[in-house]
């Protein structure tokens, strides 16, 4: 079963993303929402960690949350796909269940 993992906290604030990556199985996906989008930005100390994880997991990022925080698609790491809320819904349908890392 493939899981859609949602992460809503910044990796600088909490260990939610780290725990998610520890337990997310290959072939699952991670959707970064709310403050979680900071993990998607290029040029941070988490970039390498996320880049490594991308070899096993598909990464998505909620565009409205990126925009709200003053960033744009050009700030987001290559390979992380931006989605809107409709895309978020589609992901929850595509994957067999959703696990929230709060």
């Amino acid at each position: 079963m493939s899981i859609l993992h949602t992460v809503n906290k910044s990796p600088f604030e909490k260990n939610s993303l780290e725990s998610c990556l520890r337990y997310a199985k290959s072939g699952s996906a991670v959707l970064l929402i709310e403050d979680g989008i900071y993990a998607a930005l290029a040029g941070t100390t988490f970039e390498q960690r996320v880049a490594t994880a991308m070899s096993e997991l598909d990464f998505y990022c909620l565009a409205p949350d990126v925009k709200a925080r003053g960033f744009s698609s050009s700030n987001v790491m290559n390979g992380i796909k931006l989605v809107d809320y409709a895309g978020f819904v589609d992901l929850t349908v595509e994957y067999e269940k959703v696990q929230a890392w709060l």
Binding site: N8, E34, D84, Y85, A86, V89, T92, V98, A100, L102
Partner: protein, 130 residues
């Protein structure tokens, strides 16, 4: 698909209620069924009709009420969590001998069994929290 949404935080303090609302609206717009939105922990505070947020910002409580009215959405406030935090409907007010009730339109108060039932009937549980 049938969805059940769980909201674990109150309005404004966290982005939780906003994210849950936008997701719920998008799911309905996509033609999916949202069986229930279940409010737990501080999430029950989404159900008080006594909020008066500034006019130039979103009114989280009333937009839940409006969404419920528009789509016949079942918004359920967990009774145990509500008792701890002071969210009451008229019947709970009488039963608990309080002098006021504050449940917002479109919400109803019920037990955790409604979340479990929703999870059994739905295809997807999506949890929003902090």
């Amino acid at each position: 698909m049938k969805f059940i949404i769980q909201v674990n935080e109150g309005p404004y303090q966290h982005q939780t209620a906003d994210s849950a609302y936008q997701f719920t609206r998008a799911a309905l717009a996509r033609g999916h069924e949202v069986l229930r939105v279940f409010f737990y922990h501080d999430g029950v505070n989404n159900g008080t009709r006594l909020t008066s947020p500034p006019q130039d910002d979103r009114n989280i409580v009333s937009r839940w009420s409006a969404l419920a009215a528009e789509h016949e959405l079942d918004l359920v406030i967990c009774v145990a969590a509500a008792h701890r935090r002071g969210i009451l409907d008229e019947s709970e007010m009488k039963r608990l001998d309080k002098d006021a009730y504050n449940l917002a339109p479109g919400f109803r108060i019920s037990g955790l069994g409604q979340l479990i039932e929703g999870v059994v009937l739905a295809d997807r549980l999506v949890v929003f929290g902090d």
